[in-house]
Amino acid sequence: MNGETIAFWVLSLGLVVSSIAVVFSKRLLRSAIFLALSLLLTAFFYISFGAELLAGIQILLYTGGVITLIVFVILLTEGIEMKKLEETHRGIVPALLASSLFFFMLVYYTWTSPKVRSLAASTPSSKFNVSKFLSESLFQEWVLPFEVLSLLLLAAIVGALVLARRERKEGET
């Protein structure tokens, strides 16, 4: 039991507990804070896989951007949320059945798959300067998906603006 293993299990426990808190907490704002915590813990996982750049992007985009957006939306609709939300979940038993069935299906598949077994047996590669190779590969081999992604982001911006815009009545400035 070395330090890396202990750190891994502590991180995993935190991740799972905060995910459960996201799903089960009664108040949405608290749920959003726990979501931020679990995304932050995932960034630590990325660091332990040698993906420091990805961890930074995760913290910037998720815990910086997405959580802010979610908290803003919750605060904007707080008035409606406050009434009759004593019952925050519906159909817990079938949802629990379906998700646990899915979990055991995934575990069964990976446990019996010979490919995953051989992958787990091989020792992980040594570290190299990931950020440099990542950017080189991103702008050479993956440049077409990158550009398509920028188009997708543009479409998402326009779509979100059009959807969230208030309709202006006649005669209003």
């Binding site: 799903v23 925050t88 949802a95 899915f102 990158f146």
Partner: protein, 99 residues
């Protein structure tokens, strides 16, 4: 760090997110469940790239993160629209397309 334990932690988080999507009544709660599922999928991508010793997993995770952020923006805009037009924030009251 065992490869199996990483995979199973990610699967567990994914199933928790699936549970949230299926059972939450508030639409933002559903979106947060989808976030958890995306996050677990990214974790699996990075873990598999790490186990193979290739960078492709990280690059696909990078693209997935960007797509997720766009998806959340559009989803929250849709939520605001539903809240304004139909005066509800609950997923089971938005059933226009249910036959």
């Amino acid at each position: 760090m065992n490869f199996y334990s990483i995979l199973w932690v990610a699967f567990l988080v994914f199933s928790i997110g699936l549970f949230g999507v299926l059972s939450r009544r508030h639409l933002v709660g559903v979106i947060m469940g989808i976030e958890l599922m995306f996050n677990a999928a990214n974790l699996v991508l990075v873990a598999i790239g790490w186990a193979y010793g290739v960078l492709t997993g990280q690059i696909i995770a990078l693209f997935a993160i960007a797509i997720t952020v766009a998806e959340v923006a559009v989803g929250l805009a849709l939520f605001l629209l539903i809240e304004r037009v139909r005066k509800t924030v609950q997923a089971d009251e938005v059933s226009l397309m249910k036959g």
